[in-house]
Symmetry: C2
């Protein structure tokens, strides 16, 4: 069966995204040229500009893709936990672990915010924050928390996990550092939510 035109386009988009992910992760956004990128995918810059507008558009698409995968994974892990509390803590631990991936670290955590500008204004890179917010919101809706500024708490927890992840990735022995970071994060999250102001 001959492929339809829309299918072909999806295929080229996929090739470009895959090539961009590899290139951005290994050399960084600024140091990768569109020529090399597209050549590695067996295409030219014409396809790229036609599909993604410009270089920033391509990065935005890549960030969005990775962010979606992270959110999916975090949600599965959170849903597999016994309680909402455990789910929130497990998501945080998973987030720290996922940031060990160079693609996540370099593209989503470093280049993404710098190139795309203020993260909170962009639709991408917000799904993980949305997951944290949803977890905190659920806790409050269940009556397990009260008077929580959900936004503030979400951003604090996300930032803590993010920086912990960067620390882990930069450490001499990431695999040994990871559990320390996850344990400290768990203590932090529990300590915050155990504050008398929040307890129902």
């Amino acid at each position: 069966m001959a492929k339809t035109r829309a299918e072909m386009m999806q295929e080229t988009r996929g090739k470009l995204l895959a090539s961009a992910r590899a290139a951005f992760a290994s050399h960084g956004y600024a140091a990768t040229s569109m020529d090399d990128l597209t050549a590695a995918a067996g295409l030219t810059r014409g396809a790229l500009y036609h599909n993604f507008g410009d270089k920033k558009g391509l990065l935005a698409a890549v960030v969005d893709q990775i962010d979606a995968e992270m959110a999916d994974r975090a949600r599965d892990i959170g849903a597999g936990a016994g309680s909402l509390w455990d789910g929130l803590l497990a998501e945080g631990a998973a987030y720290i672990e996922m940031a060990l991936d160079p693609e996540v670290q370099r593209i989503v955590l470093l280049d993404g915010p710098a190139v795309l500008g203020d993260p909170s204004r962009w639709p991408s890179q917000n799904r993980c924050l949305d997951a944290t917010r949803a977890a905190v919101t659920a806790l409050r809706a269940k009556g397990l928390l009260r008077e929580v500024d959900i936004e503030a708490v979400s951003h604090l927890l996300n930032g803590a996990a993010l920086n912990a992840a960067l620390w882990v990735a930069a450490s001499d022995d990431p695999l040994a550092t990871l559990p320390k970071a996850q344990e400290a994060f768990r203590l932090m999250a529990e300590g915050l939510l155990a504050q008398p102001q929040f307890q129902a």
Copy 2:
């Protein structure tokens, strides 16, 4: 009195740093050209490459300068507090507030890590982290904490403050959001350090 040569050089370095701070903060690192930068300072690119090596070197110098100012300010605020506990919390609040400054936000928090690479490997942008680490270390030395993984806690607190700062800066009404972020951060830090594992 005629200025000596070293004084002249310090003066040009200062001019270039000041011009770079303004340009990087307003347009971002990538969108700033060395020609415009130096022309605004009444100089040419020759002076820049002679003094800072390359564009990254200039950014590193700017980040270092701002970071030093932040650390000084945080240290003053921390030293003015009554206790070590209050000092640590006050430094965190001050950090969140300082990140409202576009120079801090854009240059130190966004472009710095992306362009200069892994923050923990760079001497700059670590003084604020050093301050947090020093505060936690002091608490432990005083016998007020035990069995704290100082590194993990420092990175968690720093990351939380950083992300909170970005959230505040991006909010519709930063001045109204700031106290919420600071309050939530205080609760988080207190909650973490109040964990039974840490209490002496």
